[in-house]
Amino acid sequence: MNAVKRLLWWLLAGSAGGLNRGRILTAVFDRPYNANELSKVLSLDYKTIRHHLELLEKNKLIVSTGSGYGMIYSPSEMLETHYEIFQEIWGRIGKNEIKKNDTKHG
């Protein structure tokens, strides 16, 4: 198991809040977001979003540009190069979450 894989397993599956972190990563892969937009798109509390963003940034999975309200987040180079690892793990653990959302929306 390589280092990035181990890190992702821990952050997405091994600790509480992992599913929300996975949802945040999926979103920022789509396009860069700021914290406020993310909290609306994912219907998560603003403070929770901030916490996860800080943690993901601390773990070098996302990078921020800008400052204050305009601070936007995008995947780090490290995460970009290991996108398939993220997909593999998220595909395995996020399945239930994705299914739940699918049924909700139709």
Binding site: K40, T48, N96
Partner: protein, 155 residues
């Protein structure tokens, strides 16, 4: 990074939920208090039984051994409550994700739970006979390690 924004923005889904870091610290403190209380009660309840089974207790060393017995019971019980907390976090995450990674963590924590229960000084091999201050030290380090692990798992 302490950017305190959110309050000023009306369209932000800002609510009163506590931040995960605070939640982690509160949970750890609560578990430690419960563990200490349980350990104290257990020590009071089993002290007489332990003394009856021991030939090491004399009038001179009785207070020392009693303190040691209570202390070791409290520390091991704190470890047990921390382990139960970890087990709770992992089982909860497992129910949500069904990840096999979590199965490994749950088994690991389960084994650690058995280890802690067996190291309680009410078990005959570790009765008053073998209690020393130095013998409690590893358990104290286990408490520190478990606190760190629980904090990281809650983050």
């Amino acid at each position: 990074m302490t950017l305190n924004m959110g309050e000023g923005m009306s369209d932000t889904p800002y609510s009163k939920t506590i931040d995960p870091k605070t939640k982690a610290i509160v949970l750890i403190v609560v578990l430690l208090i419960i563990g200490a209380a349980a350990g104290f009660v257990l020590a009071k309840g089993s002290l007489r039984y332990a003394q009856r089974r021991s030939e090491r207790v004399t009038e001179a060393n009785r207070p020392y051994l009693e303190t040691l017995f209570t202390l070791s019971m409290i520390i091991i019980c704190m470890n047990i409550t921390l382990i139960l907390g970890l087990l709770g976090v992992y089982v909860h995450t497992f129910q949500k994700t069904h990840s096999s990674f979590l199965v490994g963590l749950i088994v690991f924590i389960g084994v650690l739970l058995i280890q802690s229960i067996l190291s309680l000084p009410i078990f005959p091999t570790s009765l008053l006979e073998s209690l020393t201050l130095f013998g409690i030290l590893p358990n104290m380090f286990e408490t520190i390690a478990l606190t760190i692990l629980l904090y990281l798992s809650m983050e």
